[in-house]
């Protein structure tokens, strides 16, 4: 390949430039530092309404009855936002991209903010009156965060 690469031009110049507005349309990810969050604010009360309308059928009225993934910690010890998720921003990122399962991409940012607040509240992470914004969401400390470690295995005989 090395010799083959030597025959390539410095640049192929394939494809067309992506401008800012095109990128903005697709650049949907939200990072732990809040990068990617739209301006906005969500509250628990409105979140409860959206949740009951659009989520409860699959995740249960209280968030742990299923039939799909438990979103709220219960006595079974199954992984939930409350006991397993390291970053609160991931709720916003994931719900916006993938939920509701049967109508992905259908929620407004407002709805996502409200639901995020509600799910954090249900998991006992924020108080009922706490307002979730692009500033406060990254600041929410998740209980499981401290348990996370990076995989540093690189092969070799050790079993870990």
């Amino acid at each position: 390949l090395a010799t083959y690469e030597a025959t390539w031009p410095e640049k192929f110049g394939i494809g067309r430039p992506a401008d800012k507005s095109f990128i903005a349309k697709w650049d949907i990810d939200v990072r732990p530092d809040g990068k990617g969050l739209p301006k906005g604010e969500g509250n628990v009360k409105d979140g409860a309404v959206v949740y009951q309308n659009k989520c409860a059928s699959c995740h249960g009225v209280n968030g742990y009855e299923g039939p799909e993934d438990k979103l709220v910690t219960d006595s079974t010890g199954r992984n939930t936002i409350g006991n397993y998720w390291p970053y609160a921003t991931t709720i916003f990122d994931y719900v916006r991209r993938a939920m509701p399962f049967n109508a992905p991409g259908s929620l407004t940012d407002q709805e996502v903010y409200d639901i995020t607040a509600y799910l954090l509240y249900l998991n006992g992470i924020i108080q009922e009156e706490y307002i979730i914004t692009e500033k406060t969401l990254p600041a929410v400390e998740m209980p499981a965060k401290k348990r996370y470690i990076l995989d540093d295995r690189r092969g070799g005989p050790e079993i870990r």
Binding site: Y4, A18, I23, R31, Y84, W85, G105, R147, Y148, I149
Partner: protein, 383 residues
């Protein structure tokens, strides 16, 4: 081309056995078909997954229509003329690429496996190899090296990660360390000679040889070069595993060495005497250097024959000639890779991780051969 007014049609539907040499056969066709006497099927018990029936296959290539599936929002139907791949973030020149653009870059082909890191099930004696670990398949993938495309765009010095995102209903997204992705990752459009199948990511997907399947984003529509991982749900809530001391391990990206005997295996029944014990072994860290086989429940281990050419990060067929004396026994296999890693037992894994399952759980498995010749999945806790 052939003229005749008295063609004798072969009887395709009846089970009546005629001497095939006494009848004219079927004509050629645009697309071939399987024999009705041997039509393997995936094990499709969930709407969002199906498994390769490893026990029905031979050699190392997985037929594309039997490649395992795992998707999180179903298989999208994508018109390639409407599909674009956006590459942006910490690059000098963000671009949009259509499938036809991708094909203009220098291409590479590579035979390697893709395995889901959740690829282990147990709990019953009546389980086939495909049911135990059929979330692994192998293809010859063709596409362009990610490094070739990024070379054109100019990566900024602070770049350390990338986010890859699919066009499916889940907008499936994973963060991958840039350095590792630049070594081998392929933006693939070909699978076993043809276009990638919709189930495997048509029209384009990431292939990162040796990495866990979930990172090899299908229906790829966006790559953002970043300085930090996004911490998506699939790299936090899922695809992480509980390990020692209450820790949760994240970014376990490379698939550990593994093997499974696919013959003899449930539900086959064997007879006393010589048989070739067969299986596949693989490692995400490079070549499989050795497969050890035990035909006496782990008392002694012997080296199996590896079918060449042994490729890196590829399913490697192994064989072992065994003279079964008719007595009940247990057969086991264990893969060793070029880093010196040896596939652990369940008990070793449980001890090391303080966990009884989860992602990247790759224990030695084996089969109990009963006096009758019947073969059942061995009790994992007893190996």
């Amino acid at each position: 081309q052939h003229t005749s007014n008295q063609v004798i049609e072969p009887d395709f539907d009846s089970k009546i056995v005629v001497d095939p040499s006494k009848v004219q056969g079927a004509p050629s066709s645009e697309v071939g078909y399987r024999s009705k006497f041997d039509s393997p099927k995936r094990i499709a018990t969930y709407e969002t997954a199906s498994r390769t029936p490893l026990e029905d296959l031979q050699g190392t290539i997985t037929p594309s229509d039997l490649h395992f599936e795992r998707h999180h929002a179903g298989i999208p139907e994508i018109d390639p003329s409407q599909h674009e791949l956006l590459i942006h973030g910490l690059v000098e020149k963000p671009i949009r690429l259509k499938l036809s653009d991708l094909k203009k870059y220098p291409s590479v082909s590579r035979i390697c496996f893709i395995e889901c890191s959740g690829n282990f099930r147990y709990g019953k004696r009546e389980m086939t190899p495909g049911e135990v670990c059929g979330l692994t398949s192998q293809s010859e993938w063709t596409g362009v090296l990610l490094s070739t495309v990024l070379r054109d765009l100019g990566v900024k010095p602070e770049a350390k990660w990338l986010l890859a995102e699919g066009a499916d209903g889940a907008l499936m997204a994973r963060s991958v360390p840039l350095q590792e992705a630049l070594t081998e990752a392929i933006i693939a459009y070909g699978q076993n000679g043809e276009a990638i199948r919709p189930q495997q990511g048509y029209p384009m997907r990431l292939v990162i040889p040796g990495f866990e399947g979930n990172t090899q984003i299908k229906w790829l529509r966006r790559i953002e070069v970043t300085d930090e991982p996004v911490m998506t749900r699939e790299e936090t809530s899922k695809y992480t595993e509980k390990v020692k001391d209450g820790n949760i391990r994240m970014f376990s990206l490379v698939m550990d060495a593994r093997s499974i005997i696919t013959y003899p295996a449930y539900p086959k029944k064997i007879e006393k005497g010589w048989q070739e014990l067969r299986g596949i072994a693989w490692s995400g860290r490079g070549k499989v250097t050795k497969v050890l086989v035990s035909v006496n429940n782990g008392k002694t281990w012997q080296e199996a024959h590896l079918q060449g050419p042994v490729l890196e990060k590829a399913h490697t067929a192994f064989k072992f000639m065994w003279n079964w004396d008719g007595k009940p026994t247990r057969v086991l296999s264990k893969a060793i890779d070029e880093t010196g890693y040896e596939q652990p037992t369940y008990n070793q894994l449980v001890e090391a991780r303080e966990s009884k399952g989860g992602y990247h759980f790759n224990p030695v498995v084996g089969w109990d051969v009963e006096k009758s010749g019947e073969v059942y999945l061995a009790d994992i806790k007893d190996i």
